[in-house]
């Protein structure tokens, strides 16, 4: 039995502890945002956050994740109330087939949690592990910039109201 904390909820999982997280997210928890692209840690379609760090869930056995905080796109917001990164991707229409996008959003979220106003070079650097075969990169970059601005603005309003 492995206890996983996904998007703030505890789940008791009874599968082989060697199973990579991606399969558990999709098959057991029916959280289907993270995608299977290569299964080899080479494409980033399966990217999720573990303790605020983007990781490839296809090569991370659940046994190493007990007591750690896992987040997927489902934890960023809902269809009715998308989070800032999701909204930015929607507003920039940053998707062709969309297969890489959940991974892109999680990597962007991870970046923005560490660095609220990244430079273009920093965004490119941080997003580099995630591949997009449709060629949506320019829109994705715009979406990340937009999300950064939105999150800064949000933080500003929160500070204003706190005063």
């Amino acid at each position: 039995m492995t206890v996983l904390n996904v998007n703030g909820q505890q789940h008791r999982i009874d599968v082989d502890p060697r199973t990579p997280l991606l399969y558990v997210l999709r098959n057991e928890l029916k959280l289907n945002a993270a995608k299977f692209g290569c299964g080899l840690g080479q494409c980033g379609a399966c990217t999720v956050l573990v303790d605020h760090e983007p990781v490839f869930s296809c090569i991370l056995p659940i046994s190493v994740l007990e007591g750690r905080y896992i987040r997927t796109v489902e934890g960023l917001g809902s269809e009715g109330r998308p989070g800032p990164v999701q909204s930015a991707f929607i507003e920039e229409q940053a998707a062709q087939c969309g297969y890489c996008i959940p991974g892109m959003m999680m990597r962007a979220q991870g970046l923005l949690e560490h660095n609220a106003s990244p430079s273009d070079a920093q965004i490119r650097d941080a997003m580099a592990p995630n591949l997009c075969r449709c060629g949506t990169q320019m829109r994705i970059l715009r979406a990340v910039r937009r999300a950064a601005k939105a999150m800064m603005a949000d933080a500003g309003t929160i500070q204003e109201t706190a005063k």
């Binding site: 039995m1 492995t2 909820q9 789940h11 008791r12 999982i13 009874d14 599968v15 082989d16 502890p17 060697r18 199973t19 990579p20 399969y23 558990v24 098959n27 057991e28 928890l29 299977f36 290569c38 299964g39 080899l40 840690g41 080479q42 573990v50 760090e53 983007p54 990781v55 490839f56 296809c58 090569i59 991370l60 056995p61 659940i62 046994s63 190493v64 007990e66 592990p129």
Partner: protein, 459 residues
């Protein structure tokens, strides 16, 4: 009487220092303006190949900046020294250096104005380069794009920052002169010896150094350090389970990959990238020379040992269970009843982590859409005397240099915790190596984590 003795001591020390100072003093060589148009294109092309063999571009180029304009931090146990601007810019580069001044720098480690250079610039090797090769290098550098970029002062603590110390170092470790040819060896071997020992400066990383930073003369190619990586021994002490052949060394230098050995990583990766411009004949010569140090020179012995290593590697490899595929049916849902406990998950063992994190690439079954890595049982880092290189690879992975094709391995520095990495690395050692277990992986991991590798960007 006492005064007399004291006076004699003072005079002796004083004159010894005076003599040393006089010996160590170098005059300035007047500035010059060497017009680029005067260089023969054939000589420039030869210089380009020699610059590739010498890997000048690595230490003299900062990541993301213009080639040869300096700024790369060379970390030494004595402090950080920044590669200088060697573009022909007259003010910040070497544009005002005559060929004589350039030759003096390579042969004697003295800059144009007469300052002693730190031995991070490996003039203890370059001193063996022929005048004509240095002339070609000079022609090549003088025809590069001049870049105005001021040199960064070395971060070396007192008293080592007194340049005269470098003169003292030379007294001990600079052995000038050509490398005497060995008549008992082939012309190719002798060519390789010349290139490897002079411009190639292989020993700068692969030969251990003494406390003063000089290469140990009795330990040639016995293995050293570079930028926090292990520079493996190239002689009989090589940790590679399969003894290197000239053909394999050549493949490794040419393509960055040798069957039965694996790929060039760490500081060797930019070396191989630079060597792309080196000629085939020169690489084969270097390979012939380097392989002549390998442990097994007799073909029959070699074949026997290779077979043993391969058998061992394959036997261990096939014992790795396949990672579970997508079809997992033995599950309960999020509302699982407690009680069906699987104790493995309480403290994941290295073997459990290996299957979930590594085996999808590092096992022998199934097909990979990308090139398959070599069996871990043949890997040099896995069989090395200490775990630093393997830890570095597990943490950072392997990535081709920006814009280039090449094998990729993701790093696990953030995905796995320190105890998990320690367990994993300890498992890999016991599963895939016949060498004894590493005693203190956790401490080595802390050290490797602290020692961040500087980014390299070669032209």
């Amino acid at each position: 009487m006492v005064w007399r003795v004291l006076l004699t001591v003072v005079v002796v020390i004083g004159s010894a220092f005076g003599a040393f100072y006089a010996w160590a003093w170098n005059s300035e060589i007047p500035p010059t303006n060497a017009p680029a148009t005067l260089f023969d294109p054939g000589i420039v092309a030869k210089g380009a190949q020699l610059a590739a063999v010498g890997n000048c571009g690595i230490c003299h180029t900062q990541a993301g900046a213009k080639p040869y304009a300096g700024g790369f931090p060379v970390q030494t146990p004595f402090g950080t020294i920044y590669g200088t601007n060697i573009t022909p810019d007259p003010d910040t580069g070497i544009g005002s250096w005559s060929e004589t001044a350039f030759r003096r720098a390579l042969h004697e480690g003295v800059d144009r104005t007469g300052n002693h250079l730190y031995p991070a610039f490996p003039y203890d090797h370059f001193t063996h380069a022929t005048d004509s090769d240095i002339g070609a290098l000079y022609a090549f550098l003088m025809t590069r794009e001049p870049v105005a970029k001021a040199n960064r002062a070395p971060a070396v603590p007192f008293p080592l920052n007194v340049r005269l110390f470098a003169a003292g170092w030379k007294l001990l470790f600079l052995h000038k002169g050509q490398i005497p040819p060995d008549a008992s060896k082939s012309a190719e071997w002798n060519r390789g010896a010349y290139l490897a020992e002079s411009l190639g400066h292989c020993g700068a990383c692969h030969t251990p150094r003494n406390v003063l930073g000089g290469e140990k003369r009795d330990g040639q190619f016995a293995g050293g350090q570079s930028e926090g990586w292990l520079a493996p021994a190239l002689n009989a002490a090589s940790p590679a389970p399969v003894s290197w052949t000239a053909e394999q060394v050549y493949a490794y230098l040419r393509n960055g990959f040798a069957k039965q050995h694996g790929l060039a990583a760490g500081p060797m990766q930019p070396v191989v990238r630079n060597l792309k411009k080196a000629s085939d004949a020169d690489l084969r010569a270097i390979a012939t020379y380097v392989a002549s140090f390998a442990g097994l020179q007799n073909d029959a012995d070699r074949e026997q040992e290779t077979q043993k290593a391969l058998d061992f590697a394959r036997s261990r490899d096939s014992k790795v269970p396949m990672p579970p595929s997508g079809a997992i049916t033995t599950s309960t849902r999020a509302d699982a009843k407690p009680g069906r406990t699987n104790n493995d998950s309480a403290a994941p063992s290295g073997a459990v982590i290996f299957v979930g994190a590594c085996a999808s690439c590092h096992h022998s079954g199934g097909e990979l859409p990308v090139s398959r890595p070599i069996e871990l049982g043949l890997s040099t880092p896995v069989n090395a005397p200490d775990p630093a290189a393997l830890l570095r690879i597990v943490l950072d992975g392997i990535h081709p240099s920006s814009g280039e094709r090449g094998p990729i391995m993701p790093g696990f520095s953030r995905a796995l915790t320190d105890p998990q990495i320690t367990a994993l690395v300890s498992h890999v050692r016991s599963q895939f190596s016949r060498q004894p277990a590493w005693p203190n992986i956790a401490a080595a991991l802390t050290k490797v984590r602290q020692n961040k590798e500087p980014a390299t960007e070669a032209p």
